[in-house]
């Protein structure tokens, strides 16, 4: 479907397109992070591409890879009816220094999605007008969708009651179990490197 888009990108940007693949008709291009914004601007402005609708932006954490985070952007062209998926790999092996150019100047709707990606995965967007957390509270430390965020770590805003001030046992009553929630074991993350 949009193989033509990939061909056009490769023709225009050459080695800045690190790899491409197509899976069941979903064409994907992995972009050199420094070219992120210019690739997006090209896709938006070229009349034969005309990607006017950014569908989603998120980031995926691959703890065994370096760069560790992969930012994923889905685009759709309403007048031409084709799609493309862009990826950029950022961050070192501890997911620090993950930075990418903001594309809010190309699609204003990316404002909140970039804030969400910063909040959840810790990708900083250079040139974003207002890069604050959007889902979690400002006091929150860390980025919860990074695989290294402990699964059982909570950061309460209100101190939990103690049995002393409640004057009674705070154990859960039947039928609620002591370890309410999911029964799976919390194992530390394996950090085996991919060869």
């Amino acid at each position: 479907m949009s193989q033509a888009v990939l061909d056009k990108l490769k023709e225009r940007f050459g080695t800045a397109i690190l790899e491409t693949h197509a899976f069941f008709g979903d064409e994907t291009a992995v972009i050199e992070p420094s070219q992120w914004k210019s690739v997006c601007a090209f896709l938006r402005e070229d009349p034969a591409l005309d990607f006017d609708m950014p569908v989603d932006l998120c980031a995926v954490d691959y703890p065994s890879r370096t760069p560790r985070l992969e930012v994923v952007l889905h685009l759709y062209s309403v007048p031409l009816g084709h799609r493309i998926r862009l990826k950029a790999r950022v961050g070192d092996e501890d997911a620090n220094d993950a930075e990418l150019d903001s594309i809010t100047s190309i699609w204003p709707g990316m404002n909140w999605l970039e804030r969400e990606t910063w909040d959840m995965s810790g990708v900083r967007f250079r040139g974003h007008p207002d890069l604050r957390r959007i889902l979690m509270y400002p006091e929150f430390e860390g980025h919860p969708l990074q695989k290294t965020y402990p699964a059982d770590r909570t950061q309460p805003l209100v101190a939990y009651r103690t049995e002393g001030e409640a004057g009674m046992s705070l154990n859960k009553l039947e039928p609620f179990g002591a370890d309410e929630g999911m029964p799976f074991g919390r194992n530390p993350l394996p950090r085996a490197k991919e060869s």
Binding site: L135, M136, Y137, P144, Y149, A151, D152, R153, T154, Q155, P156, L157, V158, Y160, R161, A166, M168, L170, K172, L173, E174, P175, F176, E180, G181, M182
Partner: protein, 212 residues
């Protein structure tokens, strides 16, 4: 208010005397005039709406009047998941209510966090505020909530502040007889039971290596 425990005599009608305790009288009065503050955050709210609709009619228990200011309410319904970000709001709402006040944990999420065992959810509102009655269910049926309301009325009448949990009325998978009841078939469902038992015995025989 609840300190008065000795019996006293009140002047009553010419027929005789009404002997009671002041706190029992107050409890009796309070339990039929609960003013609710619905703190509805999630999907359990749909079941809360069913509860307040005419079919289940919470007005029969004197708890039909919602007050959307916590200062006028004495029963806090926490209906749905409470995120960590909402924790300070919930605590402040609770602190604004006047004594005496009671709290319902409506549904599994409010009671224990439910399956949201993660960085963003309070694992039960009792981590933040005291709870009087827990109503398990995801969401609980309105009948279970009415059970909880009657449990609370009983607690108020007895001036009892220890928390209570609504028990399930019956476990559908408790016995084969109940399972037969659950089957929607024409005729008397009990007639299916011998046939089912025979099938089970047959399967057992095959599983143990014998022939049918």
């Amino acid at each position: 208010m609840g300190d008065v425990t000795h019996s006293m005599t009140l002047d009553a009608s010419e027929q005789g005397f009404a002997t009671t305790r002041v706190d029992a009288l107050l409890g009796w009065a309070r339990k039929y005039s609960l003013f609710s503050y619905p703190f509805v955050t999630a999907c359990c709210g749909m079941e809360f709406m069913a509860l307040t609709s005419p079919r289940f009619d919470v007005a029969r228990f004197g708890a039909e009047a919602p007050r959307f200011s916590p200062r006028q309410a004495d029963l806090l319904w926490v209906v749905g998941t409470i995120s960590q970000r909402q924790g300070p709001v919930l605590k402040r709402i609770y602190e604004q209510m006047m004594e005496p006040k009671w709290v319902f944990a409506f549904g599994t999420c409010a009671s224990s966090g439910g399956f949201y065992d993660n960085y963003t959810t309070v694992p039960g509102i009792d981590k933040i505020i005291p709870v009087d009655v827990y109503i398990p269910g995801c969401p609980p049926r309105p009948e279970a909530v009415l059970d909880g309301l009657m449990l609370l009325q009983d607690k108020i009448a007895r001036n009892e502040r220890r928390p209570g949990v609504v028990k399930p009325r019956f476990d559908p998978a408790h016995s084969a007889d109940d399972l037969v009841h659950l089957r929607r078939s024409a005729g008397d469902p009990r007639e299916l039971l011998p046939a089912m038992k025979e099938e089970e015995a047959k399967a057992d025989r095959i599983a143990s290596g014998g022939t049918s």
